[in-house]
Symmetry: none
Subunit: 233 residues, 4 copies
DNA sequence: GATGAATGAGCGTTCATTCAT
DNA sequence: TATGAATGAACGCTCATTCAT
């Protein structure tokens, strides 16, 4: 996202200290953020519905009730829209997972709850965001792929840390050199594909809650198995 | 794929009975198949390297050492290229998995071996095909998505059947109404994301074998867990 | 200019040997050249009339009775159109000047005749080409400037050689280290500005012949003066 | 240039009589002029470096440390910027030439000195201004072309008058009906192209002084020749 | 069957200009 | 006066697809 010709990160949109700027500057700041969000929101729903390539910049501007130029004032190009979008979605998802995890004392139970939160909170409330991160942003040029990798890396790290914190309480650690990372990647893989499968292919939102329970049970089993292997050796 | 103006399925390319056609008809048939494969192969490596949208039909024709018109003679449009491609890849993958499974008497061991085969045979030997099914064909319009769904459905069914055959020998079945399908989807999700992560993001082909072992161990653990839940109830 | 995706020089358009290609290949070749010329001709008159920046590619395609895509098939972009145009014009001008010069035995008289030819043949018959080289191609990005420099360098070299050949007959040479080049550059500067002034600003085509005579007289005087300085030392 | 919504000529910027305005009005007047000059100066260096079309209004405002709106307050549009710029440059050049000419008693020697001044003072000290008048303002729409014509007309007139005044002392005049104007145009053509050639193409600033001497020698020779023709007839 | 030149709708992007604050 | 966010028409260019030869 560009502000005054310079690109700033999505997180920078939140003003640092509000006492260092005048009343009008603050209002302008607020309006800028509002318009950014409006554009991203318009783009998000269009990308999710019609696909990234099928959505023209004019359509986005129309939906956001702005001119094309305005969109380009806030984002340097179409790809930038997608990059910012998945960055925001990544942050949201991490927050949802972290909240659920912490709420249960960073335990194995918290880990389970985070899994439930993915399906119950994230997927059910934001199916469009699911479409963006898991469908529309796939295979879209280096910039987007780079950001995707970044997001997934962060998620992996989060999961990994959570797993360690939770497992420490159980007094176990991981056997294989790769086990921890593989678990982490596998878990996200399960979340991704299960969400994709039931949201986009079966369009079965009703049972997603139960499906999520099963998926999480599967995951916990897998983890235990690797723990078990460790314990036996 | 079109032959004589009519679209035929990839599997139809193989002639039914060779005694019903003349010597020259057979030669023509052989040449047709050869050109088809040449085109798909050219497109596959270009899609994998440069991306589906970054690859023009002219580039494909160039690489296949044909004219653009020739490509359109064999495939009705660019999307059709992708559809046929992922169909072939789907078939190949199913064959690889089935072979490994059957070789060990359709048992839980066979199930494990099929997992190993995914990483050792499929991913390592055909990284470009991995790029096509798991990256380039994602989010590309209804026709492709339809075919993707079809492929994944078949794979899910294969895995499901295998799982049942293998588990029958162990004398267990699945508790939850969704458990079986969720396992199936989860397994493929793990395969997909683990392959993607280590092939495209970490570019760690060397340790893929060990990674595959871990992933499969994780999967078996997950399965056992759901079995266990079942047994307990 | 591009043929078969590869850029070829304008001079390459002329087929090297006509016995190495089939009847139909020759016809295609002829048609290609014809379309190239049609496009350049359309673009030339539009650039000359409306200006390079005021002329869109669609207008050019319209005037050439082709689609925009066709124009882009023959020329890689708008700038390429201008580059090829001024290259052709440069060649034409050199031919006109050389013909006039040689016709009079490469003497001082031939030199004078070349000057007359610039005004009588080039300016009067091709005022649009004058507009292109001396007006529309000025200040238009590095590629065009590069080609302009190339053309003027060639013209300078031609004039220089002509001057030497003619002056050898008179038994003189140039005094200052820079004199020869300065003369050369000055002569072209005179031709350029005089043509520009009377063609575009005074729109006085009628008296251009007499004007040319005066300009050439001025040039010859300048040359003699530098010669004279030489002789005196 | 606009002041209070009305466009005034660059020369009008200089206040007529300072006793007719208050202290604060004078300060405002001074600031206005300062900002005008700042903008023109910023635009000049950007046009010269990046080209007229490659330079956006925002860049100019940035360089002048103002807002885009401020630029539009002082100049009615981008073209107006260029028009004022070349007008100022034209005035400067005329002043430089006139000063040199007068300093030597409006003689043939003064004429020569004016030529030297063009290269030594104008070209060497203001290469950016050379780029503007001789490169960036060429072929840029009717308003600019009109002003260019106006400037060159004035210069031609100056040269013409100077030539007459100088030649009267030598007791000669011009033969052909067009001779005087042709000489005038030719001289400026030589100055223009020689400056362009060595400043932008050969980037040879070091020898520009000597080059100027040669160019002027060439010019004087040309003049003498036309004089001579006159004398003989 | 094979060719490759031709099509043209559609796209992403720019940028001079305006105007509410 | 000064600001800078907003406008939107216009542009250059791409590329999947067609079709005469």
């Amino acid at each position: 996202m560009k502000i005054n010709g310079k690109r700033i990160m999505a997180s920078n949109r939140i003003k640092k200290n509000n006492d260092s700027m005048s009343r009008s500057a603050m209002r302008r700041q607020r309006e800028r953020e509002y318009r950014c969000r409006t554009i991203l929101s318009a783009a998000e729903s269009l990308f999710a519905r019609d696909g990234y390539h099928q959505t023209g910049m004019e359509k986005i501007a129309d939906k956001a009730e702005m001119s094309v130029g305005a969109v380009y004032f806030y984002f340097k190009n179409k790809e930038d829209l997608l990059v910012n979008m998945i960055e925001d979605i990544g942050d949201l998802l991490r927050r949802i997972l972290a909240d659920a995890f912490e709420r249960y004392g960073a335990s194995m139970e918290g880990f389970k709850q985070a899994g439930y939160a993915f399906f119950d909170d994230f997927c059910i409330n934001y199916p469009e965001k699911v479409a963006i991160v898991f469908r529309e942003s796939v295979g879209q040029g280096p910039e987007v792929e780079e950001k995707r990798k970044e997001i997934f890396d962060k998620l992996n790290r989060d999961v990994s840390i959570a797993l360690h914190r939770a497992s420490e309480k159980e007094g176990v650690d991981f056997s294989s050199r790769y086990a921890a990372e593989v678990i982490t990647v596998s878990i996200l893989g399960i979340y991704e594909r299960v969400a994709y499968h039931y949201l986009f292919w079966k369009r079965d939102t009703e049972n997603l809650k139960q499906i999520g329970r099963d998926a999480v049970a599967f995951i916990l089993g897998g983890i235990n198995n690797l723990f078990g292997e460790n314990r036996c050796s």
